[in-house]
């Protein structure tokens, strides 16, 4: 592998990783805070992409879609959490089942509303060109994705560590019951956390659409599959874990698939197996006390 090729593949890997971070951050947040593995996360991601598709068709604006899709998903999250999830709080398996059911319903509704054809979305004007880098031209949109991923991670880190909301989230991750006992309205906190997680999935749906496309089945692959892999590899439920997971999985998957293409499908699972073998809590995971 020449230097030029390695450099281009590294960029591919990084931008893929950035997309994975945007995709997985919501799942990680919800899991960390609420102890719920939200298996509807992939369906939320898919719904975000289809809403973006409609918004772009109606208004022609990708940027508007980037606002509308997360907002719509946040609203959906604000309805789902109090209406459904809250009733099952503490019953982890039942919650997981509920989210599977939810994803089936959402995916089927998407099929009814938008049809089951393969769709796609173009990068917005201004980002749809290419720039010359080492070894040839490279799409601007993928560089934008890297920048966006970094900015999102930074913003989340600041909110997490420097704001009152962040403090509440961190406290909630440690011990939600104690937080409730201290007079914090955990119902409201959980609802807004779930809504934020859904909004992040919707955002991922918009940003990933020009790269991953929009099609039936996207809810599981890449949606749920890759976000679960990132979260498990990085460490369950922490922001730094999601960052570490996507930084490892993105490039490793990219290089693995082109170097060992006969076992390309297995590459991603080999990464998971290896990490879990060496570090069962994930790269930056902590040991959680079962509640």
């Amino acid at each position: 592998m020449s230097f030029e090729l390695a450099f281009q593949q590294a960029l591919n890997g990084l931008s893929f990783g950035a997309l994975l971070f945007i995709l997985a951050s919501g799942l990680s947040l919800v899991f960390g805070m609420m102890d719920v593995v939200n298996l509807a996360h992939g369906a939320f991601y898919m719904l975000g992409a289809y809403i973006a598709l409609s918004v772009v068709q109606l208004t022609g604006s990708f940027w508007l879609a980037m606002l509308a899709a997360p907002l719509a998903l946040a609203l959906l999250g604000l309805v789902i959490e109090p209406l459904l999830l809250r009733r099952l709080r503490g019953r982890h398996l039942d919650q997981v089942l509920l989210t599977i059911g939810l994803s089936l319903v959402i995916v089927d509704l998407i099929g009814q509303l938008w049809g089951r054809e393969v769709r796609s979305l173009s990068a917005p004007p201004g980002l749809d060109g290419s720039v010359t880098l080492i070894g040839g031209v490279y799409p601007v949109y993928r560089l934008f994705v890297i920048a966006f991923g970094v900015a999102l991670a930074a913003a989340m880190a600041v909110i997490y560590r420097r704001t009152k909301i962040g403090m509440l989230i961190r406290a909630g991750v440690e011990d939600a019951e104690m937080l409730g006992a201290l007079g914090i309205n955990t119902n409201r906190l959980f609802a807004s956390t779930f809504a934020t997680g859904a909004a992040l999935a919707g955002l991922a749906g918009v940003i990933a659409a020009p790269v991953f496309g929009i099609q039936p089945g996207m809810d599981t692959d890449p949606g749920l599959l890759y976000s679960l892999v990132v979260v498990v590899v990085g460490g369950l439920g922490t922001l730094s874990g999601a960052v570490a997971g996507s930084l490892l999985v993105g490039p490793a998957d990219t290089f693995g698939k082109v170097l060992f293409q006969d076992v390309a499908l297995a590459v991603i699972f080999a990464i998971v197996a290896l990490v879990l073998l060496l570090k069962p809590t994930g790269l930056l995971g902590r040991i959680r006390i079962a509640r």
Partner: protein, 423 residues
Amino acid sequence: MGGFVKNKLAEKRGYTYRLTRRQFLVASSAAALAACTPGAVTPGASSSVAPGKAIKIGQLLPFSGVYAELGNSMRRATELYLKQNDNRLANRPVTLVYADDANVIATGVAATQKFIDQDQVDVMMGVVPTPLAYGIRNAVHAAKLIFIDTNAGGNALTRETTNCTPSCKSPYIFRASFSSYQISYPIGEYLSGKGTKEFFLAYANYGFGTESAADFTTGLKKNGGGTTGNVAPPLGNPDFAPFVTQIKNQPTKNVYSFFSGADAIGFIKSWNSLGLPAAGYKMYGAGFLTEQDVLKEVKDLANGAITSLFWAVELDNPENKKFVADFQKQYPLLPDVFAVQQYDGMRALDEALKALGGDSSDKDKFVKALEDVSFKSPRGDFAFDKATHNPIQDIYIREVKTQGGQTVNTILDKVAKVSDPGK
């Protein structure tokens, strides 16, 4: 059914509901009784004979899962054909039994068994994925059920193979679509014959993709051509940039690819955003790479791509013009190649039944009648190869062009009367 009461012993052991022997007997005998009530089909009753009796067609198609749109399209074609023919095939009314395989092999195999045992269909049609066609081959063959494959293109379904692995032909299996040889070998032979001999391969890494790549390579070798390397992303790969980057960093400018649907869109978009056209690379492929489902999303990004298929919506013949117009009158969209395959499957069945005067009771005569079918299809002349039951058909070499705002496949040339080399 005898309600399952809470069982004290079981409760003590930690599970609430436990069947006592008596409850089990009550429940199971009730179920057995229910199975005997009228309404359940009596096995062994004579199926089909007389003309005028409805002919029952089992259609196994995906209506959910990733291939749902293919199933929908084939259902539309079925219903269009029936509508054009007063809901009759020959002189018989038609009963359609649809089953959804959801692109899960086990589901499709079970549905086929239901067609055979419970619905007792006269003819079975459909099947999108090749592994499913292979999976039901033995059951269909053993039941002597006439099966007209209207999509799955795996070569082995209409060939003689050692130990019938992974599949093999059957007197009862006909194919109204294509074999992967037919959409891959002729373009290889054609291009190398025209002097374009060296190719790099890019194909989805699953049975059908590898088969297509291998048949294309054989076609190239016929005229002294060959391949210089390959990339093979997994089927349903989300990100194509790494593979297109590999292509860009090797010297062979002509690239033959096998992708369809979402993969094709991802491949073509990456191909352009990474600047391959400007760097002098040229795209070739099996026809699914540039069918309408792909072209309506990528538009002029696919311009210049040369692909081969047995049909194109733009094909200029009276049958196709009528088919496309009728389809658009019935549905608010253009027909696709899957609709053509299904439509021709219905037509072949209709022609065979007409030749038999509507009498489908004798299986051997039915097979013979299907073998003798020939008609003008939207794709051109259609006939089954008597040796394999695969269609003999013209293969069109097409180039993607944008004309008057529409991105279409223009016909460059055709390779006449291609049959599968199976025996």
